[in-house]
Structure formats: structure tokens, C-alpha cells
Symmetry: C2
Subunit: 776 residues, 2 copies
């Protein structure tokens, strides 16, 4: 595979673009995305190319273009695009020669740098640029570029500004706008989303440092665009340094006191003026320090491997998790592509609970709480969805955006190659396991943290109201005298309208069972909470209903061959040898040959489905059953979803097959960071990036929290000599150090003893003491 | 000036781009615009470049993005953009070598062709493309491209489709849409404007002819976009010919019976399927024939000049007048940039009456009637505007769009470089002469055609109701005991809030005087019309009011130096030597140095103002006065409006200064067609293009219609040996042939004698006889 991605031996903090190719714009725009959870901006190059996607998003600022579309995260006006013309040659690396090209993301500091020498018309120019989004000051973006004329006097025209002509793939969310030019080369654009009426103010302060002669600066206000032109006469060897310090504020920000447009404009002008006093270097330094304090030194993770990419992957994952997660505001959640692209419109899926939440529960429990508080805040939409579908309780949206939006899954998707028509996206209607997934995430958070404050105020209500949904959802099958769940989509989205999807039925059962246990516990031990919830839900009647239905709920169990049927029909469908399709580089290639209806009629699975069930409920199934289902389903799985490989890696590690686990790990690790130049175009894969942590800590580290117990049972791959990490458990910060020989656990907080399950039985880790467990 | 525009000696029908430079995209996109008055499409190249503007407009289909914007002509999904990749090299003429480049517009047939050889990675490929918009079938667009691998086997990937991700400079007017793929490689996209709810259906039929091996064609439906990919394995010397025949229908079309979206989709599919049977060559041939029949042979104009550009300019002008004019529908009018760009949003200005209408009155009187019927149909908006401003009668919008829209001038414009704020556009409020200009155009049409049917049904009502506006508009100045018109903008838009602008006051007077004469004539000779209008307007009272006010209306007259003051303040303002600013290539450069307020306080004029007054009312002023005002005002005029030079050229010819007239003619002729590579980026200059005809026929040909009389008084420039043209006058088609020695007039219709004023007195041109007049 042709690739320009470069890794650095001995340096797990740097990821590079080794050569520029305009065919690969999207790859680096996505994987080099800068951000801080409040805002994210794709790493479009300074100069423009056909096919670039110049996206900047502020988390949670959803807007809906019109009634035919669903709400999406709107693409804000761009501030990083520059026009650079050298003696009438516009900077364009497809033209002339490019020497010493390097673009690198420093994961440790969040700085993106780029340098190269451009030879055009027999002359050479040196470029160096730097860019960051501050982790210390969430509204701040910085950009600096240096251009040197190496061998001839040159007329340089540099244009910079604020460009609101960008769209979301042609969809415009913003009003035309108020543009202002202030003294000191400060440009300001105020605008507003059309439907959601969110005010935005973008204020850029420019400065130019050079010994060269600078002509008259001209600022134009065009439609949706302000642009300043800086004409510079560079003598040989002279350099200009152009700096752009920008602030972005919106009326949705909780740290803004007065959200009206006039106050926001005043604020933006004041803050940007301040930034110019502080200067680029100090702001970059401050942001790098925040990365050190909050992420790298705050919760270190160390991997010693023969392949630098393994440690790099963990840093890459944690970098992107930080960039994508709106930790500052519980009204927001993580999008399936983070803030790195327009894919999935900034919406939140079950990915949060299944694949990103574990990282936060163990690493930043406060952020985990914020993510699950979001689910509490979206209860209104979930209740509306249940009612709209004729159910009771809370039915969570498959895709979730702003807390008031309810279901935001688009109704129409890609073309059916046989009929020529757009296919209907059924997920918003019948991919119902999301409701149990949310309850699952909330329970995991409560179990791992013991956060009774959250549980009483928010978590229990969600668990009970989702169980209430399931109770109303079950369908009675008179012939078989049992309850069933028909016409759903399970995790394997290639099977639309499945009956009794094993994953869904088991999750529904678990959800109802949890509520039942909870109701009884609350009644016994937490009367105040019980009373409050009882007034809302009539818990006695609800518990009786759940109890009665649960006993008759059909759960697909292993058949004679030990295989759990994915759904009622799966095992009787025709089989297909997938090997021909799995060789191709891109996912979804099966659909070049078959339409969804045809795939629906084959034993072909998109992603971990039964395997995911076995992973989540590991204690309920024997190793023999797990291995049999792996042998049956894995060869039938296309792994077309980025959620699949990571589950298979952890599952293989659980099965004790480290070599296989490492193979899947490598494939999952490389989805975004690897050499495939087209996998990340629409944005990075948030779940897969969460999975890099899960595969490492859950899979190889063998950490798990099961029924309120912490477990460690490491399976380090051969290539690794050491894995060291820290995690929080019930308010205690624990440090783990895993080698092939032993695992050491130390309680760093040391205010209480922690009990851990190991392969050698229960181990108590007392206060301030390290415990070593041999793995022989 | 660096330029790539190429003219062809001996061929006044061909205009070429001699070399490709991506810096000049906008120039050729605009001047090579294809269209037929129903639709227009900028000539964006097949392959895409940064900075391109890929616009397609259907006349009259205005939409308003939201309440902060004004209505504009929305940019339709593009069908001409292609993706072309040759062995992984995307076609990009900034890369590699380009040999034998030529892009030419054939004005005679409306065919745009392009050819070149592209050398990349040591291999050569030949390209030939052809494109047209049918003049015979107004819904039809055609495109054909041939690619030959000259020296090596090549994997070609060709992508073509319908791309609705385009916007109006970032503003999206269309809903996301229904996309369909039909058998036979027919792609269809249905969409709708958001506010005006106009349905559109675009249907493209692709076909591929080649002896080479074609792989599996794949069609993707993306957001706002359908795209088919054709993979071809070209052997050495093999060629593919790709043809795209497209239809566009909208629910606004008067030739569509059922405008609902389902019927439109059916219609589009049926018609596009038909086109594929007819074939590209036959459709192109049919369209070329329509150009011959309707334009070139129907109303020939012949210029014999030492400079081929003079004859070329007339063909260029008539080509663009045909492309820009929605002659098929009186609910539409000509936009200031035609259908060739987003400048002025597709709006209609006084340009129509002053600068395009004369061509149509004399060449296609039916189209002239349609253009003035539009003004009748917009009376509602004009009456609303008058009422909103506290006046009576009809006050025409400065900018006019759909017949119901009323005033559509945007309120905010470019930046004030001193204050940093956007400047207010006052034209929509106080550039009031437009109301008299409309009456002027309508009167000209009636005078030159004798179309009493139009006059009775529509024209007289406009003349009377505009006079009614003026009567209510006049302000009484007690101190001077006279009526004045204060706080207006005249043709010189650099003088905002002028009092007693000479042009405005004279036009208002003329408008009121015309109504007075008309009321009296109608009373005497056309009682039915009189009765109908009397019931509406109470003509006796209105006539009395007009009569009384008119006698006291202040009209700026020549002062002691013979100079007519442009307004009350102009002559007392400071003067500025303009020579420094007029050297610069681009218009408006004065505003890099002064803001509007500063320019307002100087004796600087944007465009013909007093000169225009003297031109329109030539009989009212002596040659001496005309010359004195020329000497005074011309050196103070920046000609920043494209309406200025043409008026000066005609005026200089009227003064008998052919050399000067020819100088201005050349400058005006070259505004779009000339070597300036940046003047046409936002679209061609419709008025200036109308002016090419006016300068030729009015200026050099000396034709004028004054007070109902046709006059000929030629002033051929030295470079010209002959000018032959035809025109309609009161239902008679007259042929004029002008040389330096004589003018010959022949009545081709020959059903009645025509009386013509000449320098030698009145000449009668009898039926079917040629009359020669010596010019000695």
C-alpha cells in the first residue's frame, strides 16, 4: 500500500506526513485534527487544494438546515486558510519541486508543524508553520508561518482572514454576518446558526514581523468573508513571520456570562487583543503545559514494545480522545468522528458507552460522569421517542445531538445499486439495543466509581425508565408462550428486521433484571430515592410487570454445536466465502457486488455481534462456548465497522490467544494511524480510538470491572515487555505495572484498601503498598 | 498587461483562450458562458481548480436564503465538472506540460471547444471537449469529451455526475434532494429552493464510446451529489468519447404543463432518454442552426474595420445578449451580470431600459415588449415601495428580482476602510431616478414600435403611476418658493444624499410632463383607455396637481461657464487630480485611498451623470453647452461603472469627435472581451455589452429615436469602412448601409413609407426602395 505516513523510531510522541500528495488531503486533515473538546479543527493545509475539507466545529452547537435534513454540527468559518503568492506563483505543492517536506503532529504538546522548501520558476522559498488549539484556554487558536526567500528578491502577497463561505458538504448553516475591522489588524466576524439561533463571534488578530518592506495592508469584506492582504517585498534571505491569534465564542458557551451578540463581540475583541500582548510562544507553551499536566503526567501509560507504533498508538488515542471529548459541558457528548470531520454529523452513538466510556471511567471519572449526565439530560427526547413509537419509558435515540433534539438518525442513506433508489436507514427506528447500552454505561460508571450522588440524582432514573421501555417493548408470542423482541437491528447492521437478535434480547433482559435488583435495593437501603422514583414510576407495579415478563423472555442459547444463533433466521441463511472481499483495502466493498437485501440473506456479519455479547457477559458463558462461537462467527465477519476489530482483539486475549489478539490489535490500531490513506477522510473513528485504550488495558492488561468487582488477568503480547498504567477505582488511584512475569499494583491514593480479583484469587491492595502477583 | 485572450485575424466569430493559467479562471468562466436566456452556465473547466466558480442559473428562479439576505438567483447543481485520473495522475494543467492548448467559443454556433495535449510523468494524453446549451431546445445542455492515450497503456478513471454541493459564495438555496439512477446510465437529482419552493429536476444521460476495455461502472449517491465512475483501460492510441446530455426543468417553467415534482421527474427522464436517441451531433447542429436563423441571418450586422475586434465585439455582444435575456418569459428580466456570474445576485437595474432595451427595440421588438411587460408585472412591488416610503403611485425598486419581490437591493455593502464598518447601500432607498428610467424605457418602446396594444394595456398605466409618484415625491422649498428633490443618489453613486441632482430632476420633470401630455391625448383620442385609467387615478385631479407642481419644479440649468451643476453642492466641493488613480488597471482603486465620505466631498464622478442627461435630452441643449460640460465633467469622471464609457463614446460621436468616440469605444468594447484578466470574474457587464451595440448603431451609425422620430446622422470612425445593419421601426424592417461617403436606407418590409430625419432634412423611404444620402 502506498503511504506517506511516517513513524519515528524511539519517539512515540510524533506522527508525520513524510511527503505531500494532494490525493491524501483528507487523511491528514483528520488524523492531525487539533482541538480541546470545546472546538476541533481539521488540519487543512495553509494553501488550498481541490478536494480539501476545511472543517472547524464547536461541540454541541447543532443546527438543522431544514425539515428534510437532521440536525448536524455546523462547519464554522475558517481562520487557518492562507493565500500565498510569490512573484505571481501561488503556493501549490503539486507544481514545482518540494524539498525536505515534513508535517508533524507533536502529541505531547498538541503542536502541528510543517516545513519544506519550495522550488518554483528556478527559485527557492523556505516555509515553516506552526499551529495549535489551546488546551489551557479553550477559545484560543494560534497559527504562525515563516516564509524566507532563499535566492532572489520576491514580491510576496499573503492573504489571511475569516472565511465563512465554507459549508457542510454544500449545506450552509450560518447567516450572512456582521464583519468588522478593528485597529491593530483585528478582524471579526459575527454570525448565527439559522435554525438553532446560536450566536458565534470569531476574532482574529494578525501580526507581521519582518525586516522586509511591507506595503499597504488592505482588508476586504466580501460575502461571508473578511480578508486582509499583506504585500511584502522580500530581499534575498529575508523572512516574514505572520502570526494569527484567534478566539471563538458562542452563545452556547457556559463560561460566557452575556451570550447576546453585542457582548460576545466585545468579549472576542477584548480577548483577542489580550492574546496579542501575551504572544504566540507563551500561548503555545501554556497549552503544551496543560497537555503535560492534565494528560501525560496526570495519568501516565507506558508501553514497552519492539514496535514504537504500539506506544505511539496509545498517545495518539489519548490525544484524540482529549481533542474529541466536550468534557467541559454535560449537555454535550462525543461524536462518532469526534470533531475531526463531517461524517455522522457530530452525532453520538452507543460508541460512547461501549468504547469511549471505559477510558474515562478509569482515567477521568469526572468526565465519565459528564458523558452519562448527558444521557440523563436527553431523557426527554428518549421518552418522546418511546411515546412516538407506542412504548412507555425511555427509548434512547440511535443518534443523539443536542439534548433537546431526540432522534437524529437520517432516514435515507446510500444508493441501492440494484434498484437505483436511496436505501432507508432503519437504525433510528429499530436499532433498539442502544437503550440497554446506555443503561449499561451508566451502571458501569456507578459500579466503578461508587458515585452515589450521580446514581441517586440521575443514574437510577435512567436504569429504571429504560427497563420500563423494555417491559413495554416485549412482544408476547402466543404460540410459543413467551416474550420476544422482533423486527430489530442488532450490532450486525447487515441484518435488518431480525427477530430475537441474541445481543438485543440479552441486553434487554440484563437491563430489566438490573432495574428489578435496583428497585429492591433502593427499597431496602435508600428510601428517599425510592420514594422519589416510586412517585414517578409506581415501582411496585413496574417490578411486578418486569418480573412476570422476564421469566418468559426468550434468550437465544447455544445450540447443539455450541453456537448461539445471532437471530432466529441467521443460521439457516446461505453462506458466502468472504475471502475475496476481505482482501480489498476499503471497508464495505461487499456492496459493490451485492445490495443490502442480498447480504441480509447470507450468513455475513458486519461486526462483532454474538462476540460482543460474549465479551460483555463473560461470566455467563464458558471458554468452550466462547471459542466455538469465535470459530463460527469470525470467518463470517467483514469487520466493516470500526467497532469490530477491537472487540475481537480483546476477546482473543480473553481466550488466551495473545498472538491472535495482537494481530487484531494491529489492524484496529492502524484504522486511523496506519498506512491506509483513505480510511479517515470523513474523520477519525472515535470508537476505534477508544478501542486502542481498551485493547491495551482490557485486552493485554486484562483489567475488567464485572458486577462491581475489579479484575486483573494480563495477557501481554510477545512484542511487549512492559505495560504500566494508572486507573481510578472507587476514589483510589491505582498504578499497575505488567510484565510477562508479574503484575504489580500500587494504591497511590492510599486512603482505603482495594480488593482485586486475580487469576490467583482475590488480592487486597492495602493503603500505600505495592502488591506483586506472579503470572507463572 | 499579461493576457491569454486571443483574437483571430479574419475571423470575427471566434474568441480564444490561448494558454491555460489557473489565475484567470473567472475571466473565461464569464466570457465563455453558455446559455439561451432560459439558463446560463459559466464555462468552468472540466477539471476543478481552487478558485473556480461553477455557476449554473435558470432565469427567474429567485430564492431568499433567510431574512438577513435579499433574494438572489440560486446556483444550481453542476453537471459539467468531471474527474479525470490517468494512472493515478488527476488531470491538473498546473502540473506537467500542456501543449497546443486552445479553448475557443464559436459565437456563430454557441459551441465551446477545448483541446490540448497533456504531458505528465513522461506520458502524453490528448484531450478534446465540446459543450453547448441548446438555443433550439431551451432545457438541453450537452457535453462531450475525448481522451486519447498517445504513448502508453493507461488506466483512466472518469467520474461524472450531478453535484449539488455548489453554493452561491457559501449560501445554499436548495434542499437536500432525491437522487435516482435509471438504467442506461441516467442520473437524476430532484431538488427544491428552500424559501421560494421552486422544484428542479436535473437529468443527465451518460454514454461512453470506446474500443477500450471498460470496467464496472459504479454510481454513488452522496450528500447533494450523484457521481458515476467509469474505469477504462486504454491501450496506446485508444480513445474514449464520453457524452453527457442533460435536461433541466423547473416548476417555474411556462412550457411545463405539470409542475409537481413527480411529473417533472417523469418529464426529465423521458426527455433525457429521447436526447440519447437523437445524439450529441444532431443536437449541436440544431442549436447552431437556431443561432443562424434567429440571430445572425435574421438580423445581420456587418462591420468592416481595420481591427477584427470591432466586428468580433458586435458578435460577442449579440451572443451574450441572447444568452442573458429571458426572452421566453415576461415575468423575468435581464440581470446586471446576465446569467454569467453571482455579481448583483441576478437582479435587474435601470441598465435594462438605458442600455439593453435599445438593442431589443430595434432588433427584436417582441423581446423589448417582454422586458417592459416585466415592469408592468412588477407594478405591485413598485406601489408597495412608494407606500412604504410615504409616497403615492409607483416607485420602482432599484434592484428587481422576481415580479413579487419588490425592492431587493441589499442594505449593507463593502467595508469602509476608515471606520472598519460595512457601508450602507443607499441605492435601494434614494437612487430614485430608476422610476423615471422605467417610464423612459416604456415610452421609447411605444414610440419606436407604435405598439398601442401594449401601451393601452400596460405602458400608459406605468407612465401615469410613475408620474404620480414624482408628484408626491417633490418637496416644497418655502424660502425659494419652488419644488425640489433632495436627498437622492443620481447616476454618480459617489454622491450620496445629493440635493437637486440635475439628472434626477430633469428625468422627473420629463416623466411628469409625459404623463400630462398623455392624459390630454388619451382624453382626446382614446376614451376607453382614458376612462379605465381615470377610474384608477382620478386623472383630472392628478393632471392639475402635476401641472401646478411642474411649473415650480427647480431644474439645474447651465451656469455662467455653461456648466450644469450635477447637484446643489458639487461645484463647491474640492477637486482632485484623478490621473494617479486612473492609471491603475482595476476600477474602484480610488477607494484604496479614500472612503466614500471623503470621495463624497470631492468633485469626483463615478460615471456619466450630467453627460447622460445631455445625451438623453440632446435636443434640449446646444452643442456648445454639451462641449463645455464634457470638458468640465469628463476629467472628473473615474468611469468606475461600466455604464460610463459607452455613454461617453456615443456623446463624443454626437459632438462629431470620431477619434475620441473610437477611443472610448475601444475601452468600453474591451471591458469583458479585452485583455484585462480580472474585470469579468463576477460575470460579464450586461449594460456594457448592450453598449457595444449602442456605441455602434447610435454612436457611429448615428441612429436615434427622438420624440417619436427616427434619425440617422452617422459618424463612422476612421478605422471603419462600412457599417451595415437592420432595424425595425413601426413594423418596417429597415436596412442601413453606412460608409464615410453615404448612408443607404432600404425598407425591407415595404408595407409603408418611413420618414427619417437626416442631416439634410427629412427623407422619406418609400416601399421597397433604397434611398442613398450623401454625407459630404
Amino acid at each position: 500500500m502506498k503511504t506517506t505516513v511516517k513513524y519515528h523510531q524511539g519517539d512515540p510522541w510524533r506522527l508525520s506526513e513524510a511527503a505531500f500528495d494532494p490525493a491524501y488531503l483528507g487523511k491528514y486533515e483528520a488524523i492531525f485534527t487539533l482541538g480541546n473538546g470545546y472546538l476541533g479543527t481539521r488540519a487543512a493545509t495553509e494553501e488550498s487544494y481541490v478536494g480539501e475539507k476545511r472543517d472547524t466545529f464547536v461541540a454541541g452547537t447543532f443546527d438543522r438546515f431544514n425539515e428534510d435534513e437532521v440536525t448536524e454540527l455546523p462547519n464554522l468559518p475558517d481562520v487557518f486558510g492562507l493565500g500565498i503568492t510569490l512573484d505571481d506563483n501561488p503556493l501549490n505543492l503539486a507544481v514545482g519541486e518540494v524539498v525536505d517536506y515534513d508535517r508533524s503532529l507533536n502529541l505531547a504538546t498538541g503542536e502541528l508543524t510543517r516545513r519544506f522548501i519550495w522550488e518554483v520558476a528556478d527559485h527557492r522559498y523556505q516555509f515553516e508553520s506552526s499551529r495549535f488549539v489551546s488546551l489551557a484556554k479553550r477559545h484560543v487558536l494560534g497559527q504562525r508561518i515563516r516564509i524566507t526567500a532563499l535566492d532572489q528578491p520576491t514580491q510576496l502577497l499573503l492573504t489571511a482572514g475569516i472565511n465563512g463561505q465554507v459549508t457542510n458538504t454544500g449545506t450552509q448553516h450560518f447567516n450572512d454576518d456582521v464583519k468588522r475591522l478593528y485597529p491593530g489588524n483585528i478582524l471579526q466576524l459575527s454570525t448565527k446558526t439559522d435554525q438553532s439561533q446560536i450566536n458565534f463571534v470569531i476574532t482574529s488578530g494578525h501580526s507581521l514581523q519582518t525586516e522586509a518592506e511591507v506595503g499597504t495592508v488592505k482588508t476586504e469584506m466580501l460575502r461571508r468573508k473578511l480578508i486582509s492582504t499583506y504585500p511584502v517585498s522580500l530581499a534575498v534571505g529575508q523572512t516574514i513571520t505572520f502570526t494569527n491569534l484567534t478566539t471563538i465564542y458562542s452563545s452556547r458557551d457556559r463560561d460566557v456570562t452575556y451570550p447576546d451578540i453585542a457582548s460576545l463581540r466585545e468579549l472576542g475583541l477584548k480577548r483577542t487583543t489580550n492574546l496579542q500582548t501575551v504572544g504566540y510562544d507563551a500561548l503555545l507553551e501554556e497549552s503544551g503545559q496543560a497537555w503535560q499536566d492534565q494528560i501525560w503526567r496526570g495519568m501516565p501509560i507506558q508501553i514497552e514494545s519492539t514496535d514504537v507504533k504500539d506506544a505511539l498508538a496509545m498517545n495518539f488515542a489519548r490525544y484524540h480522545l482529549t481533542v474529541m471529548t466536550p468534557a467541559h459541558d454535560p449537555r454535550m457528548n462525543i461524536a462518532a468522528k469526534g470533531l475531526s470531520g463531517e461524517g455522522y454529523k457530530g452525532h453520538t452513538f452507543w460508541d460512547t458507552e461501549l468504547f469511549m466510556l471505559p477510558y474515562y471511567i478509569f482515567t477521568y471519572p469526572k468526565i465519565a460522569r459528564s458523558l452519562e449526565t448527558y444521557r440523563f439530560l436527553t431523557l426527554g427526547g428518549a421518552r418522546r421517542k418511546a411515546a412516538d413509537n407506542g412504548y412507555r419509558g425511555a427509548q434512547y435515540p440511535w443518534e443523539s445531538a443536542w439534548i433537546d433534539d431526540g432522534e437524529t438518525t437520517p432516514v435515507w442513506g446510500a444508493t441501492d445499486i440494484v434498484t437505483g433508489k436511496a436505501t432507508k436507514i432503519w437504525s433510528g427506528f429499530i436499532e433498539q439495543h442502544i437503550t440497554a447500552d446506555v443503561a449499561y454505561g451508566i451502571n458501569e460508571y456507578i459500579q466503578a466509581t461508587g458515585d452515589t450522588d450521580f446514581a441517586d440524582a440521575m443514574g437510577y432514573e435512567v436504569i429504571i425508565d429504560t427497563a420500563r421501555f423494555w417491559a413495554s417493548r416485549l412482544e408476547y408470542n402466543q404460540k410459543l408462550d413467551r416474550y420476544e423482541i422482533c423486527d430489530v437491528i442488532g450490532p450486525d447492521e447487515y441484518k435488518e428486521h431480525a427477530d430475537n437478535n441474541a445481543f438485543t434480547n440479552h441486553m434487554a433482559k440484563w437491563n430489566m433484571q438490573l432495574a428489578l435488583t435496583l428497585i429492591s435495593e433502593l427499597h431496602e437501603h435508600r428510601q428517599a430515592t425510592y420514594q422519589r422514583l416510586d412517585q414517578r414510576f409506581d415501582l411496585v407495579a413496574l417490578a411486578a410487570e418486569i418480573q412476570s415478563k422476564l421469566s418468559q423472555l426468550y434468550l437465544p442459547e447455544p445450540n447443539d454445536e455450541g453456537v448461539i444463533p445471532q437471530d432466529d433466521a441467521y443460521l439457516s441463511k446461505q453462506t458466502l466465502d468472504l475471502s475475496a472481499y476481505l482482501k480489498e483495502d476499503q471497508v464495505g466493498s461487499l456492496f459493490d457486488h451485492f445490495n443490502l437485501e442480498q447480504v441480509d440473506n447470507m450468513q455475513v456479519t458486519k461486526q462483532a455481534d454474538v462476540i460482543l455479547l460474549l465479551f460483555l457477559f463473560e461470566k455467563h458463558f464458558s471458554q468452550v462456548i466462547k471459542r466455538k462461537n469465535w470459530d463460527y462467527y469470525e470467518p463470517k465477519t467483514t469487520h466493516d465497522s470500526s467497532l469490530s476489530l477491537l472487540t475481537h482483539s480483546i476477546f482473543a486475549a480473553d481466550l488466551g490467544d495473545q498472538a491472535l489478539a495482537y494481530q487484531f490489535y494491529q489492524r484496529a490500531r492502524d484504522i486511523d494511524m496506519g498506512p491506509n490513506m483513505f480510511s479517515s477522510t470523513d474523520g477519525i473513528h472515535a470508537a476505534s480510538i477508544g478501542g486502542i485504550w481498551s485493547m491495551t488495558i482490557f485486552g493485554f492488561g486484562g483489567i475488567r470491572y464485572l458486577d462491581g468487582r475489579l479484575r486483573v488477568s494480563p495477557h501481554l503480547p510477545k512484542a511487549w515487555t512492559k505495560l504500566a498504567f494508572q486507573l481510578w477505582w472507587h476514589g483510589q488511584k491505582l498504578a499497575f505495572e505488567v510484565t510477562h512475569q508479574q503484575v504489580t499494583i500500587k494504591n497511590l491514593t492510599g486512603t482505603k484498601s482495594v480488593s482485586v480479583d486475580t487469576d490467583h484469587g482475590v488480592v487486597d491492595v492495602p493503603e500505600n503498598t505495592a502488591i506483586a502477583i506472579n503470572l507463572a
